[in-house]
Amino acid sequence: MSNSQNLNDLVIQVRRDILRMVHNVNSGHPGGSLGCAEFFVVLYNEIMKHNPSFNMNGTNEDLFFLSNGHISPVFYSVLARSGYFDVDELNTFRKIDSRLQGHPTTHEGLPGVRVASGSLGQGMSVAIGAAEAKKLNKDNHLVYSLHGDGELQEGQNWEAIMYAAANKVDNLIATVDLNGQQIDGSTDQVLDMGNLKAKFEAFGWTVLEIKEGNNLEAIKKGLTNAKAETGKGKPVCILMYTVMGNGVDFMMHTHEWHGKAPNDEQLEVALAQNPETLGDY
């Protein structure tokens, strides 16, 4: 079996994990999680040098920070399937006494998570801090972060974007998940953010685009190109166009599944569209 077939199987299994996790507790955020499944699979399997025998300081490895913490299902699924913890633990998602809290946290000691996120707009600052620490430690590895597009409405991001350019934080690759949706509707309707590419460039960032953010090859190419842009005195941003709810036809192209779990019948339909590949948890 080819490597791309393996990755494709993993994406389908991650989708199943996401759907089953949120259905299990009738809560959570499937839409954005499904939209970023391919990104997480490529990042953790093809791009980052990382160590599943987790160490908080992350010296001599690449680091990832999830700023839009509500897409925790995809994060948890990919961490588990990358060996950070047992996949059976996905069954505890959002339940009492679980390490898999509704939004990611270090508080319960879940391997793979380095900061709490959920209250939006804070992850880029944290990623910059980790990148600055890597420079001080003469550690040449990179820091990756993921942000929702709606999340960019939080002002702290723009403080961070300004800082990173002014201070040449060029060991950071910040990806924005441009699915165009947020809770109250499309991002254009709720608060039009204008031309994000022009905005990042005006702030002094190198900006790349991944037009097909649900295509494994396109993501790999985009992230590889982004890596090649690091170390050149500018922070790097990837604008990644994704489809919210990708892989489940009735969840796609709408904000309705941002924070809603499928019922029993809907789950059955959704899983039928994504037949088991690597084994359910």
């Binding site: 944290v126 801090g129 980790a130 600055e132 620490a133």
Partner: protein, 317 residues
């Protein structure tokens, strides 16, 4: 009573600056971040000596807290510096999620706390910060009383693994604690033994408490004075031991009586040893422009106010 001598008025923020300078030499993991107030926070020396470890973030406090949280992930010990108002209320959620809930080893260093910031007025004078910070699980809250203690505390918090809120002030005040002191987080300092009333004070009010105790002694009242530099974790044992002897207490702080040291003491007493208590603190109000002395006088935050409350609370025994 035990005599304390002011060795020359100094600002507590300079004690912070001196402590940071010392840490720069002794601990290479210490980094400093400032939001455009380097001179006010007395961080110039650190900046000059260790430019590679000093991070000017501009007027962007939220970003500063987040960057500090991220730096701990590489093993750094970040000290953030700005005024108390901008160190807490302005960035409460950043501290809550990225620092406290995430258990990050960030030292939030806050100058110009309380009304003694003076002429700038209420927009800059926070009287709610102790409450905001002490409510965060895992946060250590320290409010130092003079230059020497602030320097010692700054050095001590670098050795403590976990988030710390270190609160100090702007004006030059009496410097009376030992230059060579060892600062023990969470350990009250018994300044004077007494029998009739316990005065528990923090920050700038500690010196005022000593002045009050002297005057009370002249009137035949024996006051025990305790310097509580750590509001959380609170040295409950020291407070209980004292009030069991004296039977009443006055708590003193440059902070709102809601959410401050006084309320923390009241809880300890209510649960363990109900005792009459009087509060020297601001009365759920904002500050205003004026000189530090005028403001301390107007808002009842001085030796006179402590004496009045002490006499009153003794009468309730």
């Amino acid at each position: 009573m035990k005599k304390y001598t002011d060795t020359g008025k100094k600002d507590t923020r300079s004690g912070f600056g001196a402590g940071l300078t010392e840490l720069g030499k002794t601990n290479e993991n210490v980094v400093a971040l400032c939001a455009d107030l380097t001179g006010s926070l007395k961080m110039d020396d650190f900046k000059k000596n260790h430019p590679e470890r000093f991070f000017q973030v501009g007027i962007a406090e939220a970003n500063m807290i987040g960057i500090a949280a991220g730096m701990t992930i590489g093993g750094k010990i970040p000290f953030t510096g700005t005024f108390a108002n901008f160190s807490t209320g302005r960035v409460y959620d950043q501290i809550r999620q990225s620092v406290a809930y995430s258990g990050k080893n960030v030292k939030i260093c806050a100058s110009h706390a309380g009304v003694t910031l003076g002429e700038d007025g209420a927009t800059h004078q926070i009287l709610e910060d102790i409450g905001l910070m002490k409510m965060l699980p895992g946060m250590t809250v320290i409010n130092t009383c003079d230059y020497n203690q602030t320097k010692a505390a700054t050095i001590a918090v670098a050795e403590h693994d976990g988030p710390v809120y270190l609160r100090f002030g702007r004006p030059k005040v009496a410097n009376f604690t030992p230059e060579d002191q060892t600062f023990e987080i969470g350990k009250a300092v018994l300044l004077n033994e007494g029998a009739d009333v316990t005065i528990v004070a923090t920050g700038h009010l500690v010196w005022e408490a000593l002045q009050a105790a002297e005057k009370l002694e002249e009137k035949g009242i024996s006051a025990e004075v305790i310097n509580i530099h750590t509001i959380k974790p609170l040295d409950e044992e020291a407070i209980l031991k004292s009030v069991k002897k004296t039977g009443c207490v006055v708590t003193c702080e440059e902070h709102n009586y809601l959410g401050g040291l006084g309320e923390s003491v009241a809880r300890v007493l209510a649960e363990n040893h109900p005792t009459p208590q009087a509060f020297v603190a601001t009365q759920d109000t904002f500050g205003e422009s004026g000189t530090p002395d005028e403001l301390m006088d107007k808002y009842g935050l001085n030796a006179e106010a402590i004496i009045t409350k002490a006499k009153k609370v003794i009468g309730r025994k």
